[in-house]
Symmetry: C2
Amino acid sequence: MPGNSLISSFSITSEELLGSYGKAARQCNCRNKNTPFVFSQSRPFDLIELEQLLQSVGWNRRPARRVQRALSGGLLSVGLWQHDPAFPRLIGFARCTGDGVLEATVWDVAIHPLFQGDGLGKELMAYTLEELRKMGTERVTLFADPEVVPFYKRLGWQLEPRGNRCAFWYAN
Amino acid sequence: MPGNSLISSFSITSEELLGSYGKAARQCNCRNKNTPFVFSQSRPFDLIELEQLLQSVGWNRRPARRVQRALSGGLLSVGLWQHDPAFPRLIGFARCTGDGVLEATVWDVAIHPLFQGDGLGKELMAYTLEELRKMGTERVTLFADPEVVPFYKRLGWQLEPRGNRCAFWYAN
């Protein structure tokens, strides 16, 4: 059956998933590109590759050592990888802080520009929320730049419920 | 000197501070009431007393066990205590989630209504931000209800910098 062969050509065995991407890894449902994509919470990041990804979507440069400490101090970091048996490529990222119960906050959501427009961002958010839900988190929050407000609205996020406003304070 | 005797009547010895409120405790500068107030990060909370405080400022009731887990999963919890050698009373509270480096978020800021209007809220925020700064946190964020937006503006918080909007997602 063509349908089956199409699916199987994009599939990764569960041994491959576990071996390359660790526990809680899951193949992305998105099949618009000619390769499979995988979500992982435990495959280590190359900090230079992560920095390049974040810069490709316009985030400010941050010292690698501080990023490393922030990742290990957070609640959850999700990598979205373009699967390759030898060299998986990091093409998406999101991380969360939180208390693991009542509140979580999502930061640094990024899909590499070359891979945008195929629904990977939507899948990345769905995977992240599902993992937070599994932990028992009641409420998830984020701060949306103006240009991504429509994206989060489409995904069902409530913008400024009950007139809530976000406030920022900078140490320097 | 009357001035000195006034100050000393409000003072707590450093042994008392350490013994009752733990490391990083600090007496509050606010002297408008006839008792000293103390900030503590390590004096344990009575969950019923905490719940009563949060309800007194209109927060929703939350199961004590989940609150306990959220406190232990967070980055920092600050209690503001009306000092009494035998029975310190919890009259203020704030807690933070975060990665300890790049981002922290403040939740559940509360001053008991009987103690509002004397600058304790301002002092509570100053103590909390100072502790986050000591950790090396670069940026602190919070979600402000409409009625407390002027309070945070007065304290120098930036409301929705660069058009940022806050977005909420609820697990249920």
